[in-house]
């Protein structure tokens, strides 16, 4: 008697990357649209992925669409590669696509990130995918989504400065610490996801492509390479990044980067690099190992020019 298995072809994978073909096609179309109109939010059919909404499903869907067996993926969570969330997303990506995992910014071809941009300058062959909880910069001033869309269409962004005005009047300085709104390509105001102010200048005229995707809100937007990204400011009050220039990382000894504050038992606080992999590389280098550190965006707390 002939077994059924003899009549069928042996099992072989027909795709990779968890999402089915039509889901990937939907993502690809909307991602291309997003690149075509920098900073403009494109709605997309957000699929179910084996993760709860709000944990980076938007970023994950973009990464799953981009990833292939030759990719090298790095996933960071608030700058760290070893948090539970980062580890599980990275393992999942490598399991469903065969892509290689890495912690090293220079090595990765796709970097999915929550709330940070790596300190090392990214190249034009790398793609950054940011997870966005709330993609609508106008939400604090206009809760009605339909009206907000009209405001985007009319480039009616005057009220965004009202938020800054109120902060200056109440506190004497700009209090917006993360998700600092920025004008992309002189046209659309976007929220750069909850990255600190420190990271916003890294997006300006960057060499790499950035995708920002919100899975729960079903919106994707993009910053193509070499695109202007200008944080909203009053013309007589300059944009300021966090004052971390003088802080030294207590583990790696590096200075002039974005730090996490670690409270100590005696009430004081120590600081450590938020970009944990940069710290690890610096320590390995200090111990005599050959760990290549790419040029960084900041030097001694100051943003450097692209050509340097």
């Amino acid at each position: 008697m002939t077994a059924l298995s003899e009549l069928t072809r042996p099992w072989a994978a027909m795709s990779y990357g968890f999402l089915d073909g039509s889901a990937k096609r939907e993502m690809r179309r909307k991602m291309l649209k997003a690149i075509a109109v920098p900073g403009c939010q494109m709605p997309y059919a957000s699929r179910e992925v084996p993760m709860a909404r709000g944990w980076g499903t938007g970023g994950l869907q973009v990464t799953l669409t981009l990833v292939n067996p030759a990719s090298v993926v790095k996933v960071i969570d608030q700058g760290a590669d070893d948090s539970v969330n980062a580890v599980s997303i990275r393992q999942f990506l490598s399991r469903v696509s065969g892509a290689r995992e890495t912690w090293d910014t220079c090595e990765a071809s796709i970097i999915q990130s929550r709330h940070r941009i790596p300190e090392e300058r990214m190249r034009d062959d790398q793609i950054l995918v940011l997870q966005v909880p709330n993609p609508e910069p106008l939400r604090p001033v206009e809760p009605n989504i339909s009206v907000a869309r009209q405001m985007h269409a009319d480039a009616d962004y005057g009220r965004m400065w009202l938020i800054l005005y109120e902060q200056l009047v109440r506190s004497g300085r700009i209090m917006q610490g993360a998700s600092y709104p920025a004008l992309v390509n002189g046209r659309h105001v976007m929220t750069p996801s909850p990255i600190p102010r420190w990271d916003v200048p890294k997006m300006h005229m960057a060499r790499h492509l950035t995708f920002l995707s919100a899975g729960r809100e079903k919106r994707v937007f993009a910053i193509p390479p070499q695109t202007r990204v200008e944080p909203l400011v009053f013309s007589d009050i300059p944009y300021k990044v966090e004052d971390h220039a003088a802080l030294t990382c207590h583990r790696s000894g590096l200075k002039g980067f974005f730090m996490n504050e670690i409270p100590q038992a005696d009430g004081s606080s120590a600081h450590e690099l938020s970009d944990s992999n940069l710290g690890i590389k610096a320590i390995r280098r200090a111990e005599g190992e050959a760990a290549a550190i790419a040029p960084t965006w900041y030097r001694d707390g100051w943003m450097t020019e692209a050509g340097e």
Binding site: G158, L162, Y165, V169
Partner: protein
Amino acid sequence: MSAALQDRLDAPRLMTAPPILRMEGISHSFGAVQALRDVSATVYPGEVLGIVGESGSGKSTLLRMMNLEDRPDRGDYRLAIPGAEGNLFDLNRYARRMLRARHIGIVYQNPHLGLLMRNSSSGNVAERLLIAGERRFAELRARGREALSASEFPLERMDAPPIELSGGMQQRVQLAKAIALEPALLLLDEPTTGLDVSVQALVLDTLKRLQRDRAITMVLVSHDLGVIRTMADRVMVMRRGRVVEEGLADQIFQDPQHPYTQALVHAKL
């Protein structure tokens, strides 16, 4: 006759200047209710036009049309403002919004409609300047302070949110917001209704002084004849969506022609 007196005896502006606002044949209905029937209105630069009528007579609807918030079923609306050509009801959303932001100020009866209650008062004034494109913080502060003091708002409270202020103060913030850009046209929709009589007198005083100092063209809608009598140069009486009588304020109050106006004036007296 002395030269000084001669200056004062020049022909009134009304007679020499072309109208700044001209509305013709405005008709509008909400479902089966005909809110406006073939209404026409003209406003000359520097004058105050009072629109009076009972509730539901269409006066607020007409004001909303003047503010380009609504489009009537039929009608023609022109403003003598550079850049505002043709029937303004035919403008697209963007052009309408720009025109409103730059040239028309409005004070609503209900401050919740016109103000962001939880932002600061100076922020409310600044909002208007921001929408018009001002991006200098120092300038926003200075012009906010100027507009608030012009509407006789106590400057030490300029950063308090309107929700903490009294009704009269809220109306002053609305007024400051409306005049911040020196609009060609100031629309007042029952600005003093709901205020107690003494506060009402103070707000009217401010309005009167502003009108005298800056010669702002105003359209004032009210059901209160006293307010109209204090403020208006010319009066339009509306009833059931029609203009029943129109004329100089003195004329209307001293010698009303239409039976409805007569009833109105006598009820007041």
